[in-house]
Symmetry: C2
DNA sequence: CCTACCGATCGGTAGG
DNA sequence: CCTACCGATCGGTAGG
């Protein structure tokens, strides 16, 4: 009976996410990762099967998290404004709490290959379509301005996407303040 | 008399920007680039000095372009609303017209090393400070809502940053429509 | 979990 | 601008 899946595996995945965020997947060697984890590169192959598998695990962890939260939000009876607010809050929180993994899902998914690349793109498209539908229905319900749905979708997705690049909690702006300010700009606009 | 700088050099830089955008700097080999340009990897060294030099040239071309436009905008007598609008328009246009180089300046600058890395970060900080100052003065002048300046700055910078990732002209949304919609959301908000 | 090592590929140079 | 090649480093395996 083989027991391979220990918490060492999770440690490797966590450190990999941090290094991939800093240097990119292609810019991170298994020897770099080994040094960070505290073992030889070769030893990590007792816990993982390949460098590609690490990337896949992180990417699909992120896409699954986003999609399951989207499904929850879709099924509430809230107004469209509140649904979009909940999604914006979701993006900000995942980035504050698990910025390294989110960064990999945003930037390094392009190093996925074959089926996995296709599956990931599919998952992302499903998420974007669900998000877009909420905007579309919100416009139809008169809650939103009649903007182009795709432009609105990607403007929102992008606006919240870089929190993990520059936001450091405990330096002037609290997470609550961050959420509130971003929401104000996206929903009410910067201009008075 | 050595004449090294031909238009072949520019071809190499252009193809490099495209490949770096697609696969990242670390994920692009000089052999990949040679194949794209149409010569052997070794032959490109008659036009460029190193792979690093290619990256540096692209990154500083981008940062210099942004900074020189910012300086122009700072020196106009326009309202703060119009200045911010001009900056948003600048970002969108550079991305539509030269998306590959902008992408490298946004994502691959992290592979710069030593002095060049420090210089690039410095240039970016200078740009961000100038942009932030315009927002700050706009709030003081009563043109903008009293939001947190840093949050507003990065929300705007991020919101326009992904145009080059999903925007394809001639597919439903014209560049003018794109600019107008993004500006509406950022300045007036999505909600009615 | 380590040592020792594999074939492949990397950025770059020599020489023509 | 190409052929031929360099030392270094890559992801991964064998064997213990």
């Amino acid at each position: 009976m083989k027991k391979v899946k220990t918490n060492k595996r999770q440690l490797i995945l966590d450190e990999a996410a941090k290094l991939f965020k800093e240097r990119g997947f292609a810019g991170t060697s298994m020897r770099d990762l080994g040094a960070q984890v505290g073992m030889e590169a070769a030893s990590m192959y007792n816990h993982i099967n390949s460098k590609d598998e690490i990337l896949e695990t992180i990417c699909f962890y992120v896409s699954n998290t986003y999609i399951s939260h989207l499904t929850e939000i879709e099924n509430t009876a809230d107004s469209y404004v509140d649904k979009i607010k909940a999604l914006i809050r979701l993006h900000i929180r995942l980035m504050v709490e698990d910025g390294a993994a989110v960064s990999v899902g945003n930037n390094d998914w392009k190093y996925l290959t074959g089926n996995k690349l296709a599956e990931f793109k599919e998952a992302r498209k499903r998420y974007e379509r669900g998000f877009a539908t909420l905007i579309e229905e919100g416009i139809a319900a008169g809650e939103f301005q009649p903007v182009n749905v795709s432009v609105a979708l990607f403007t929102i997705l992008s606006a919240v996407r870089w929190v993990e690049l520059w936001y450091r909690p405990g330096r002037g702006v609290s997470p609550e303040e961050l959420e509130e300010n971003i929401m104000t700009i996206l929903l009410n606009g910067l201009a008075r």
